[in-house]
């Protein structure tokens, strides 16, 4: 009987369990199911956001004082709030706002971060010093404080909250892109492109940027979730969207007073935020495990 290869004993952490036991298979299936649920939820959110206008049974800001704090019924599937507005309609429009804020802040703040990160990593010298010092400064604010200060200065509105959140997003993307760019800068294919007479901008866009794609996708998904949370938090504090806007955080803040008498007024927006953030976190988590497996050595 041949002795087992030493690797089969020592590498049991790394190698996939070939003869999977029932429990292991169950765990693996759960892990895959998490990714599937995430993708399903994101698609559902996109559907709700895009179709809020058709799906909503009522006007999200139209109040009807005769129908206050109603329990769920056929006409109002999720009930009504304290001035008789349809909670389902407000939820749908709120999800649209939430998704919009997440995507737009990541595109704007992340896009700027990618640009600055490419410049800092590729050109080095003074560019790098200035950009990275600025990044360090922004990141030295405790989490959430920077956005609060920015909104305090700009004034409380959803647009200003989005600007503040985008500013907060930027340095995180700068760091990731710069790190990848630094490692790609000296590679042969970049040198080859330069020898072939490609312009600097061409090299950055065609050869360096694609190398950042994998970590960027993870980052984008995670920050989409983060930023939706932050926007809802700012609105909850009265620093973001203002009533009567159906922003979920603002709905929660205003609905707090009715927590005891009509919990659905709080539960509906709370569940909305939770599901939206969860969806993007699930996708980000699944993407991360794929990307980490492809690039060994990443922590």
């Amino acid at each position: 009987m041949p002795a087992p290869a030493p690797d089969t004993v020592l590498a049991r952490e790394e190698s996939p369990p070939v003869p999977a036991s029932g429990r292991r298979r169950a765990a693996g299936a759960l892990r895959h199911r998490r990714a599937a649920i995430g993708v399903g939820l994101v698609l559902a959110l996109a559907g709700a956001a895009a179709g809020a206008g058709w799906l909503a049974p009522h006007d999200p800001v139209a109040s009807d004082l005769g129908r206050r704090l109603l329990a769920p019924s056929a006409e109002y599937p999720l009930g009504t709030d304290w001035i008789g507005r349809c909670l389902l309609s407000r939820l749908l429009y709120g999800l649209r706002l939430t998704v919009l804020v997440g995507v737009v802040t990541v595109l704007a703040g992340g896009g700027l971060g990618v640009l600055l990160g490419l410049v800092a990593g590729f050109y080095g010298r003074l560019w790098e010093t200035v950009i990275m010092r600025g990044t360090d400064l922004l990141l030295s604010f405790p989490y959430f404080l920077l956005t609060i200060v920015l909104v305090a200065v700009l004034g409380a509105s959803l647009l200003n909250a989005m600007v503040a959140i985008a500013v907060w997003t930027t340095p995180h993307f700068v760091r990731v892109v710069r790190a990848v760019t630094l490692s790609l800068r000296e590679r042969e294919f970049v040198e080859a492109a330069r020898a072939l007479g490609r312009t600097e901008a061409g090299i950055l866009l065609r050869h360096v940027l694609p190398g950042c794609a994998a970590p960027l996708v993870v980052q984008a998904s995670v920050f989409c979730a983060q930023n939706m949370l932050m926007s809802a938090s700012l609105s909850f504090l009265g620093l973001g969207a203002q009533p009567p806007s159906p922003e979920l955080g603002a709905m929660l803040a205003a609905g707090r007073a009715y927590l005891r008498v009509a919990p659905q007024v709080v539960a509906v927006p709370a569940a909305g935020i939770f599901v939206a953030v969860l969806a993007f976190n699930l996708v980000g988590d699944a993407l991360r495990s794929v990307v980490d497996r492809r690039t060994p050595g990443r922590p």
């Binding site: 989490y143 404080l145 200065v153 504090l237």
Partner: protein, 308 residues
């Protein structure tokens, strides 16, 4: 050690200077005339002029910044525009409450998070691991204010165990601490899991197993200790998360900490008060991270600090 400390302290001072610059610049470039909002009814020109002189707003911006820094060096954060009281004592008073809240939340989240993360890593790819990973994902996705309101509804309204707002006794601290901790447990569990998984793949763990040590000793002595070193870094970052999370927690529970003070300052457009809160929070955050870096020397003898 000494040159390293000197360099780091110099860096901290520069960073704080940068923060004052950013905060000061932003607060004073804010659109709209603040003085108009501070005078009741329709203010006369004289009233506004007097206020602007009192707050030093009639001076050019560089002069104001220099004066602000001069006061700061003397430990003076200025006086509130609303009630004319000095800012620093107010901020320090609130800071005491916030530190109490943050410390209890941190302790709670460390105990729960490290335990869950350890189970998850040691039984990697098992059902237990999956349950922990799913639970932490749910935890990370739950906004602080949702947790807070849920706790209020269940433990206060339904069961009547704890007061919903205020501060003073330990009973007032329970719900805010739970709320703030729930925010961190998930982070701690995930971090502990990945640190421990990383360590378990190291050669010295293999060696420890090869020489026949009981698995309990391998994990407890060889893996556990080394996994905790990166956890200390995360601890520094968590102070940032705690400060941010406490802003919301304090608002929900009407807890008189620095977060609530800052929000009230923002609502009243009390610039010196907001500045004071931000500066003190940021300074605390930076100092904790400095302490974390220094603690490495004690925890990891491989690290030697140099002045370079």
């Amino acid at each position: 050690m000494i040159p390293y400390l000197a360099r780091r302290l110099g860096g901290v001072v520069l960073l704080l200077l940068g923060i004052t610059f950013v905060v000061f610049g932003m607060m004073y470039l804010a659109p709209g005339d603040v003085t108009l909002m501070l005078v009741p009814n329709v203010p006369s020109h004289e009233q506004i002029g007097a206020l602007r002189r009192e707050f030093g707003l009639d001076q050019p911006l560089p002069v104001r910044y220099a004066r602000f820094l001069g006061q700061l060096v003397h430990g003076d954060l200025g006086t509130s525009w609303i009630d004319r009281r000095p800012v620093l004592p107010q901020v320090l008073d609130a800071l005491g409450y916030t530190v109490r809240l943050a410390a209890s939340a941190l302790a709670l989240s460390l105990v729960l998070g490290l335990a869950a993360g350890t189970v998850s890593a040691l039984r990697s790819r098992s059902v237990a691991d999956d349950v922990v990973m799913t639970a932490t994902l749910l935890g990370i996705s739950t906004p602080v204010f949702v947790t807070g309101l849920l706790l209020i509804y269940c433990l206060s309204f339904r069961l009547g165990w704890f007061p919903t707002s205020g501060a003073g006794s330990w009973r007032h601290l329970v719900l805010p601490s739970l709320t703030l901790a729930s925010f961190l447990v998930a982070y701690n569990a995930r971090m502990m899991r990945s640190c421990l998984l990383e360590v378990l793949g190291q050669d010295y763990v293999r060696t420890a197993r090869a020489k026949g040590l009981a698995e309990r000793r391998v994990w407890g002595v060889h893996a556990g200790k080394n996994a905790l070193i990166p956890m200390v870094t995360v601890l520094g970052l968590q102070v940032g998360l705690l400060l941010g999370g406490s802003v919301i927690t304090e608002t929900i529970f009407a807890y008189p900490g620095i977060g609530q003070l800052m929000i009230s300052g923002i609502t009243a457009r009390d610039t010196p008060l907001v500045q004071g809160c931000v500066l003190v929070s940021a300074a605390g955050f930076i100092l904790v991270n400095l302490l974390v870096d220094l603690s490495y020397v004690v925890l990891d003898p491989r690290i030697r600090l140099t002045g370079r």
